[in-house]
Subunit: 279 residues, 2 copies
């Protein structure tokens, strides 16, 4: 009984990879989010491998965000979400100092597409969701004016800002856009705080941020997709300028470059990359 089922449909791969791929097929073919996988023991006997192998295979799937694991419970097929993807984008961005600007560049395209579709397709509850986030920004903004500089409130404001864009993505009805924008907000969180800092530095009140969001929402409500695109473009260009300002006025390079071929060829491309986004 040494020839396990796992080896049947796979060449030189290891048993873990083979099991992982078979489980993936199984999930794709006949499972939906929320359903539980069989118990480790059952899979082990079904695929003719030890429990260790099964566990490692499941950990791979978990790393890909395909299943969620918790102690005492069987692994559960997870809803597609941008979270796992966000880790990945974080890796790309981390790998290259210019990465954050690359990300902003891509974000601009996606957000414009997102808001364009939202203007065409948004349902009433989806609109309410967007409105909700905008109201959250207003509340946080007012609170922020009173107790100036409260970090928690600032974070709340930022979360509503992110939520606003995610709500638009949701309203677009396009799952891929929703996941990608959700994913990008993970590494962009840093950028958002930079953006706020830039805004403070340049002396712009955060009223203008709220107003920009308001204009976007208005365009969506009016079902004017072209106007919505332009409003979004303007908002993101503004946001990009803030980010650049924050970058230029940042504390100090501190000279401590990490090993590897990074942190080069930045200065001259910085301005170009961000400005070029106005086509």
């Amino acid at each position: 009984m040494s020839e396990s089922v796992a080896e049947k449909s796979s060449g030189g791969q290891t048993a873990v990879v083979s099991v992982a791929s078979q489980l993936t097929d199984l999930i794709y073919a006949e499972m939906t989010p929320g359903l539980s996988l069989p118990s480790e023991a059952e899979m082990a006997s079904r695929y003719g491998v030890s429990r260790v192998t099964i566990r490692e295979a499941i950990k791979m799937l978990a790393g890909r965000g395909l299943v969620e694991i918790s102690r005492g419970r069987r692994a559960v097929v997870s809803e597609p979400s941008g979270k796992a993807l966000g880790e990945f984008l974080g890796w790309i961005v981390q790998y290259d100092p210019k990465g954050m600007f690359d990300l902003v560049e891509v974000r601009m395209s996606l957000e414009i597409k997102s808001v364009s579709l939202a203007a065409k397709r948004a349902t009433r509850p989806a609109l309410a969701g967007i409105e909700n986030m905008l109201q959250g920004m207003r509340d946080a903004g007012q609170k922020l004016e009173r107790e100036n500089g409260d970090l928690a409130t600032e974070r709340l404001f930022h979360q509503c800002d992110v939520g606003f864009h995610e709500a638009i993505a949701l309203a677009s009805g396009n799952r891929v856009i929703t996941s990608l924008i959700e994913a990008m907000s993970v590494p962009l969180e840093r950028s958002f705080f930079m953006s706020r800092r830039g805004k403070t530095l340049r002396g712009l009140p955060l009223e203008s941020t709220i107003a920009a969001h308001q204009r976007i929402l208005d365009c969506i409500k009016k079902r004017d997709s072209t106007a919505a695109e332009n409003a979004m473009r303007l908002h993101l260009e503004e946001s990009g300028r803030d980010m650049r300002a924050a970058f230029e006025n940042r504390p100090a390079p501190s000279g401590g470059g990490k090993p590897g071929s990074r942190s080069a060829f930045l200065p001259q491309t910085l301005g170009v990359d961000v400005d070029d986004q106005c086509r």
Copy 2:
């Protein structure tokens, strides 16, 4: 010695998750692609956990595409690549029957951004790379006219097609775009074959496909980003129509619907989603 290092900086998480996150930090902070992680035994002693725990943590990172594993060798930090991301997009697409069209919708935006940037920034070797792929398409195309219907040649043609678009993404100089387009080509592989089938059905020679790519390349060479965007848009719209044609003329629904809430509400949205892409 029962209090392991792994628990030190983590709350209720399991040891595996804790180790995985610490390893992630380690990689982000002081490693670059190509470097090897310590041996399992060393990590085990360093983090105060058993080798099994280390192995499961590494399998999680491998699932996320952060490291590559091979027998007898230590785990190696991998170059960011769209491959792992492609699996993820595949899951989104699989999860929703409309997903493939969502993906095409997003692809259009990204490819347009990609070609626009490529027209502005492409270096000479990057241009050569694009040219190369186009030449590959021509060769495969001629070969395909002689030995009509050879599957391997058809696959080659398709690979050059994908390669053409990836080469443009590379020329854009934006890593995020490169990874995303590479990622999308994984689930879109099916769509590409559908597209080719649609083209055959509608009686269009694949000369037109090559010509469309040629036009795109010409615009890039001329550094005319606007024209390049338009050429790309036209090409993708054409490609989308082919895909829809292939969908409508597909063998038969065969009635075997899978369990779950899928494969519903498709008919009426299909046409809308694809047509709406021409704005």
